[in-house]
Assembly symmetry: C2
Homo-oligomer: 329 residues x 2
């Protein structure tokens, strides 16, 4: 099998992460970057990497084995993934949990009709966290699952605070509550409210002369975003903002506390966690190793839509089954 030729549709933080992840996998190569912008205005991180108008992508069907679609879940992916699955094998990181069944159905239909293979909702949540929920709940049916996120930047909440009048720059961190996590780890299977699980931390550069109390109040009472949480609002200078809040860290914890044995009194605890200095780079690394799995499953004749649940782990690795059993089992 030759190298897997990867197309990148959408060149934001995630698209750049995919470009960089390709470099770490010598069985992959970059076939092209596709953008809505003017290609001549885009400078790829890889010197000489070809950049095309997204509108021209259909002329490239024989040059791309796997197209990784790096758009947003709100409006881009629901439209792009089913559309592009008519012409390419595709992967996306669609993360609007409630709309996954609908997205799956749309992509599955387009991919089956055209004989392509599509993987959706990959990354870490949905993705690796989902896998850990599935494994843990299957192993410990009598138990309780918990997901904590952070400490990390929430894009949606950062966008929300930047819309508040008087806010010049803003970033929001979701912070898991340590004492709540420790209560879970104790095996006591606590019922935890939204407020008990996470706090929200905002860092704001205000506009000159802005009413700081009004900003703070507008944020803390914002429905759906902040009103159910304990939120702190910090005002800082633009200089400090640039120095300390220029990264996109994230992470989180999936825990399963279960009971086994005679009378079901034996505590068993499974915990999975991620601590990421860059959310988009890590998500991209997940997408790239699933691109390897996609190329292999496609070669076996698979079509339609699949998620992380449907893909045997061995497909992700460059190693053969024999090598895996000898080195990693």
């Amino acid at each position: 099998m030759g190298k897997v030729r990867i197309g990148i549709a959408g060149y934001g933080n995630l698209g750049r992460g995919v470009e960089l992840a390709i470099r770490q996998n010598d069985d992959m190569e970059l076939a092209g970057i596709f953008t809505r912008r003017d290609p001549s205005a885009v400078t790829p991180l890889t010197p000489g990497a070809p950049v095309y108008k997204i509108d021209d992508i259909r002329s490239m069907t024989d040059k791309i084995d796997v197209l990784i679609i790096c758009g947003g879940s709100a409006t881009d992916l629901p439209k792009q993934t089913p559309e592009l699955a008519q012409y390419f094998n595709v992967i996306d990181s669609f993360d609007t949990h409630a709309r996954i069944p609908e997205h799956f159905a749309n992509v599955d239909k387009a991919a089956k009709e055209s004989g392509h293979l599509a993987f959706i909702s990959l990354g870490w949540d949905p993705g690796l966290f989902s896998l850990n929920r599935l494994y843990a709940e299957s192993i410990l049916p009598n138990g309780k699952s918990y997901t904590f996120w952070g400490k990390g930047v929430s894009q949606g909440h950062s966008d929300a605070i930047r819309r508040v009048p008087g806010v010049k720059r803003g970033i929001q961190y979701t912070v898991p509550v340590e004492s709540a996590m420790d209560a879970v780890r104790s095996g006591s299977m606590p019922e935890l409210t939204t407020r008990q699980k996470h706090t929200r931390e905002c860092w704001i550069v205000p506009e000159e002369g802005a009413d700081l109390a009004a900003i703070e109040n507008a944020i803390k009472t914002m429905k759906n975003y902040f009103d159910e949480y304990d939120t702190t609002v910090n005002f800082i200078s633009e200089e400090e903002f640039d120095a300390k809040h220029n990264k996109m860290p994230h992470g989180g914890f999936v825990m399963r506390s279960g009971l086994t044995g005679d009378g079901e009194q034996t505590h068993q605890m499974i915990e999975y966690s991620l601590k990421l200095e860059s959310n988009p780079e890590f998500t991209a690394s997940v997408l790239i190793c699933y691109a390897r799995a996609l190329a292999r499953l496609k070669a076996e004749g698979a079509t339609g839509c699949k998620t992380a649940f449907d893909i045997a782990p061995a497909y992700l690795s460059k190693l053969t089954g024999e090598q895996l059993r000898a080195s990693m089992l």
Copy 2:
């Protein structure tokens, strides 16, 4: 599909764990317990559960969908699993890592020739820890993996100290070194020696009048078992031993510290951990959910030998693909 009918071959701690795990899964039922002992001398935890001589198992081929073989890895499984795979779909927890390729080949041959499906080396290490090594190394190719075990009872080391002259009762705990784990979590990718990763803790009830210093010295200098570790030896009364050391806790940590991004300077950390009050009960829970996967894959026509690497996660869950996507993705 009717209930999956489970046979248990070998009725020690693991066999009893499997019996109890069946109770937690209403799509499973216990078809029979098979033992080398006199069946009339065995009292199952489940009143009325049928107990048979292991020699009579071949007359039960039409009564058992999946046979879980609960023998030891040193001498039982290398012989039993290939032998029984001629007549049954089988699962084992073979855990002698260095001999897995050989065991796989033997079981694969027997299962393929007879049209059965066999899963080997399931449990948590090998098993869940192996899966986490595979996922993490595929996602972060530039990185370093670490496995820490404990705190928990090592059966092999406990057996070894019980063979020391003057030892009446004995148990050994493997303890991961916190500072070593913290060094890994820091992202510094340390090189760690055997001694730096784990300590060994022994609790001994000596024979009346035994030479305690001689016992301690014999343990601490024991080749392959203790000489490469910092070991502590504690002498206690039989009463204290019975009160405090009557459980089989275990667990451990799989960590992957990796680098991504331009220049590969972004730290990414994946950590998976288990904290188990009962090692055999948890291992049994893993085996039982893989029995569900086996029954499904067999119905699809699969034969031969497989490991956790080859089995798509969705097969482990009682939920349908649609339910999984709606509730767990």
